[in-house]
Every structure is written in C-alpha cells, then in structure tokens.
Amino acid sequence: MTDSKQLYQEVILDHNRKPRNWGLPPDATHKSEGVNPLCGDHIHLALRLADDTVEAIGFEGDSCAICKASASMMTAAVKGRARADAEQLVQEFRDMAIGTLDPGEPHHLGRLTVFAGVRDLPTRVKCAILPWHTLHAALNAIASTSTESEADPMHAPMGNA
C-alpha cells in the first residue's frame, strides 16, 4: 500500500475545500444519483446537454475528500465538452483508477492524473470512481447507480470499501 501523501496532493485538497460546480444547474436535462453503500458516499449530479454538448453541470452530496475532489475536477473537465468526449474520459479515468490504463497510449486525462495514486489504495478506488459512475449513469438516463450494483455497466469488483 502506498503512502496517501501521493494522493492527498494540494490540488485534491483544494478541490475538497472549495469544490467547483457545487449545486445542481437549473433546467438540467440529465441527472443521476450515485451511492457507495459500503462507505456512505452519496452524490447527486445534474447536467444540461444541448447539441450533444455538456453546457452546464453541477453536483452536491456528502462524501469523502477523494470523492468530492474527483467530482469537482470531473465537472470542470467535462463542462463544454461533447458527450462522446465525456464518455471517453469516464472510461479513461476508470482505467487509470483500477490500474489498467496503458501509460504508453495517449489519453485525455490531463490534471486528472493526480488521482492515479488511488490504484494503490484498493479501498479508496470506488471513492474516486463514484462521480464518474454517476456521470455515465446520467448520460445514459439511469436514475441511480451504486458501486455495488452488479447491473451497473461500470461495476467492477475491487474489494470492499
């Protein structure tokens, strides 16, 4: 297990203290609720999609620092992007978090790579992924998602949090 100092970097701590895009946008076209029943992380995510582009996005809820910072940076990253690009980021982030992202291949994660260290903290992987699960669910008109749901297309067994 790695030292968490690699994970609790200033950028993550800052997004935890001052989350960006906090609060749900009015006239949202897509929304979803994400829960991790094992640790109690719980977020609501809403976005407005126009011309297949994420025009507005916001979240709120009650969660640990990793989850909140991940949600904050995620919303900042996908705002203004095309839906397909957002979905691609979801996949890349998930692969990075569980350690299957090929570092040799090009990706679009940019500053989101501060979360790479989470792959060495198996009980915290789900905290980082939950907002991305929830975004995927919202984009696919799934009202709620759980890190423990077998039916969830993002579900990946990774040990209990």
Partner: protein, 419 residues
C-alpha cells in the same frame, strides 16, 4: 489528565507488564509505511499470540485426524483435544454443562442457529421479538428474516444521546405477544456495555428467553453465563486471540434439547434410514459435518492464554487505555466522541469536523495507525447519531498508552492536512 487517572494508570502499570505481553505477539513487531504498527482495530479482529499460534501448528503437526469417527490413535487424540477445548470454554464462561457449549463458525452462525433452531420452531404470526438500536447487523438481519417468514414483528429498544439503552422503554415493549429478546452485551460501534443482567431478569419475568450477543464482551469482560442466567450467549474466537472460523454458542440444555437442528449431516445423527433419522444428543445435534477441529483446539489455547494474563487485569488495563484515550481525544478541538455511556468497553468512536472517516483512516494508515472507519455493520446506530460513518479506535490488552499518543498525534495530522 486528572491526577487520579494518572495515579491509577501508574499503579496498574506496576502490576501489569504490557511489554511482556506484547513480546508474545509477533505481528505487533511489524512496521507499516516505515512506522511501528499501532493496531487499534481489535473490535474487528484481535491478534494471535505465539503460544496460540504454536498450538495450531502442534495440532496439524502431530494430532490431526477427523474426530468422533475412527478407532485409530490420531482420531482419538484429535477427539480428546477437541472435547478438551469445549471444556476449557465451558470453564471460561462458567457454563453448567459442557453439552451446553456448541462450536460454531462465529457469532453470526450462533445467532442464526438460534433463529433457525428456536425461532422457526417456536415463533409464529403476530409474535414479537425485542431487539435494540445498538445491535450489529448480525443480530438484526436473522430476526428480520424470521419475522418476514413468519409474520412476526420486531420491537426496538431506543438509546439516549450517550448511547445507553433506555431500560424503562425496554420494559414497556413487553406484551403478551413477546416471544424472544436478542441484545448485545457490548456495542461494537459505541462501546456501550448494556445492562444485560437487568434485561435478562425482565425477560424472564415475562417468561421470555433471551439471547446475548457477546462478540465484543467475551474478550474484554469476565462472562459468567450462570450468573447472568441468559438463555443463549454467542461469541467469536477471532476477537479473543483465537483463529477465524470458530465461535461459541452457549445455550441452556433445556432449550437446546427442544430446538431443531440447524444443519443436517454427519455427526448430528444417531441413526439414518430413508424413512427416518434420529438426531444425536446435544451438543452434537448442532455440529453437523466435520467441524473446524484445528480452530476449536486453538480457541482452547486462546482461552488458556487469556486466563494466564487474567481477565480482571485485561479489563483494568483496557479501562485505563479507554479513559486515557477519551481524555486525550476530548482535548482535541474539532473532534467529537460518539458514544459516551457511563459503562463502556475499550471502543472509541469519533468524528473529526469536516473530514470524512475514510480520509481519517487513510491518513492514519500513513502513520502506521490501524483503525476502522465506516458504519461498523451497525447502520441503525449511525442513523440514531445522524452520521454516515465514524472512525473507531478499539483497544486490546496489548495496546499501550504510547499507542494512544500515536493515535492522537495522527488525528492532529489529519486536521492539519484537511484545513
């Protein structure tokens, strides 16, 4: 720290050599993230001392065969050691007879055995089962399953803001429909020691049998099932320096004889034909199949070990640890202790303002400090105290005051990281 607490701790330190005890536990020499391991997750599972580890090895090295079966030397040896372990546990909890001591896989199985063996036979539609807010999920879910199946109803004893059960409310829950009570002896989430003696007496005034979940009590308090007069008492080996996969269910012989078996199979029968099976006598009626023989015998060695240290001295040292930790954590601004009962075992649940327990646990781990974070399989307790989760430090007799200091220093570091 008050002068009286300091004096008490110094006096106990002279009588109890924690350094000598620690030398028995090889795992306590580990370093985690470059720091000495500070293991404060004993309510989840305790560590095993060398004499107990050695007992497992000796069994597998020179005594193993299946029990209650063959006439050869090893089978007879294993059977004798297995039954000797049962007698050790019998003496440990002061059960009247050894046949009242059943080997199970753990507390959860013990409770499920009573739910199936007693509940399914004697509890029906419209009947009521009394539980408490403090229960671990393992003492809720089996009764809920039974209630659903039979059309029975659960009644729940509430707690006050300190995490103490309200005895008056408990008394009021009894009706002519009450058929069973299941209560924890020590809350795993808060540390509250419940007034089981009074609760057992009240249940018996109403002619109702009562099960006590002793998972958190057996390793820390002297338990005398005859003095308590409980009908059932369940606990686990791995929380009392024994191995996982073994536990004990004590039951009064009169109940066990009337109950239906939980599992069918070998060893629990006297005779089998395709027309009819005659069940074996207790305790064997409830021990179908090859039991975890090595684990049972090793649990016997864990009982020997705890008794060699002395349950009274264990309780005294753990009380010192709890009082010292409570005093120190109370001095930290922004940290709130959840569960402040007058009577507590060495469990300290706390919340750090503005920091999620999982972040607390992860940062503490950097300093080698192992605690549990989450809902502790006691979600009704979390709901009662309006938190999603807590951080929980739980102490054993091999912990030290210096480890409490390490915990407090690590909590300070958490606050520094997140402000």
């Amino acid at each position: 720290m008050s002068a009286s607490l300091t004096a008490r701790i110094e006096q106990h330190a002279a009588a109890f050599d924690v350094g000598r005890v620690r030398a028995d536990f090889p795992i306590l020499k580990l370093r985690v993230n470059g720091k000495p391991l500070v293991f404060l997750d004993n309510a989840a599972s305790s560590q095993m001392p060398q004499p107990v580890i050695d007992r497992w090895v000796r069994y597998q090295t020179s005594q193993h065969a299946n029990i209650h079966r063959a006439v050869h030397y090893l089978s007879e040896t294993a059977t004798a050691e297995y039954e000797a372990a049962r007698r050790k546990v019998q003496a440990f909890i002061n059960a009247r007879e050894e046949r009242e001591v059943l080997f199970t896989s753990g507390t959860t199985e013990g409770i499920n055995l009573v739910m199936h063996g007693y509940g399914r036979k004697f509890i029906g539609a419209g009947d009521e089962i009394i539980l408490t807010t403090l229960e671990h999920h393992s003492n809720i879910v089996p009764w809920q399953m039974l209630a659903e199946e039979k059309g029975a109803r659960l009644r729940v004893v509430p707690v006050n803001d300190r995490g103490e059960l309200l005895l008056d409310e408990y008394r009021k829950l009894f009706t002519s429909h009450t058929r069973f009570v299941a209560v924890t002896h020590v809350s795993n989430a808060l540390g509250t020691i419940t007034p089981v003696r009074e609760m057992i007496a009240v249940a018996h005034e109403h002619g109702v049998p009562i099960l006590v979940d002793g998972a958190q009590a057996a390793p820390h308090l002297e338990v005398d099932v005859q003095e308590l007069d409980c009908d059932f008492y369940a606990f686990s080996g791995h929380k009392m320096c024994g191995p996982t996969g073994i536990g004990i269910l004590y039951g009064k012989a009169a109940w066990l004889e009337q109950m239906q078996p939980f599992k069918g199979g070998g060893d629990m029968i006297l005779s089998v034909t395709f027309e009819k099976t005659t069940y074996n006598v207790i305790p064997h009626k409830f021990e179908a199949g090859t039991p975890p023989i090595a684990a049972a015998i090793t649990l016997g060695a864990a009982v020997d070990y705890l008794q060699s240290v002395g349950m009274e001295r264990i309780a005294a040292h753990e009380t010192d640890l709890l009082d010292y930790a409570t005093d120190q954590v109370n001095r930290l601004p922004g940290v709130r202790i959840i569960g402040t009962a007058e009577q507590k075992a060495a469990v300290l649940s706390f919340a750090v303002d503005g920091v999620h327990p999982h972040d607390v646990g992860t940062v503490l781990n950097d300093d080698g400090v192992a605690i549990r974070t989450g809902h502790h399989c006691a979600q009704p307790v979390m709901q009662r105290f309006k938190v999603a989760a807590t951080s929980r430090a739980s102490f054993a007799f091999y912990n030290t005051m210096e480890e409490v200091d390490a915990l407090v220093a690590a909590i300070r570091r958490v606050q520094k990281v997140f402000t």
